[in-house]
Amino acid sequence: MNKKRPKHLALHKIQLPLPGFVSILHRVSGMFLFLFLPLLLWIFYASLHSIETYTRLVEILQHPLSKLVLLGLIWAYLHHFCAGIRYLGLDLQLGSSLAKARASSWWVLGVSLSLTVLIGVWLC
């Protein structure tokens, strides 16, 4: 198999198919959530520990930058959640045909983004 094969990689013409895009976002959102675990655990701690830490946390979360980070984490959780349910379905051979797999990819993107927007509106 040492034959030299011609390569025709027209990078402006090829792109990741939609299920592949959802898949890489699943990985990115998972890594993002893992890296922010200490922050999430600290938020959980501050929200429960005492009324003082709770009040302080609410103050910090009023800042636009913290809202942005929080919203990013909420999107990551929702995307990972929806894409994960999609994979559990695929494991059970539900919707594994190409058309259905594409449709469910749109659903994952749509549901997680709209819920993020909804929570964002509620937060602001």
Binding site: G30, L37, L48, H49, S50, F81, L88
Partner: protein
Amino acid sequence: MLNRIVTGAHYGLRDWLIQRITAVVMVLYTLGIAGYLLMQPVLDYNAWTLLFSGNVIRTFSLLFLLSVFYHAWIGVRDIVMDYVKPAAIRLIIHVLVILTLLLYVIWSVQILWGIK
């Protein structure tokens, strides 16, 4: 003979299955908590701490967090196996991730059972 390396996967069904079982635990817990919070007329410190005051909910919250950490370990390990090739660096990252996640376990217990 398979080329089995210490920083590889465990070439079996176990981690794959645990990834899915922990996922189901997290989905159920998330839907339960979200449903409960949506039904609350007021969401303040009192309502929030009341939710986590019982031992049953603390136990299930710990189960959820343990699922998060185990799930995260398998996910991070898969990512490291894909992008980090030298075995020594892989081993260092694996050890650091495992130790960090174990510290999170201890921290989670302190958070859940340390509410004033």
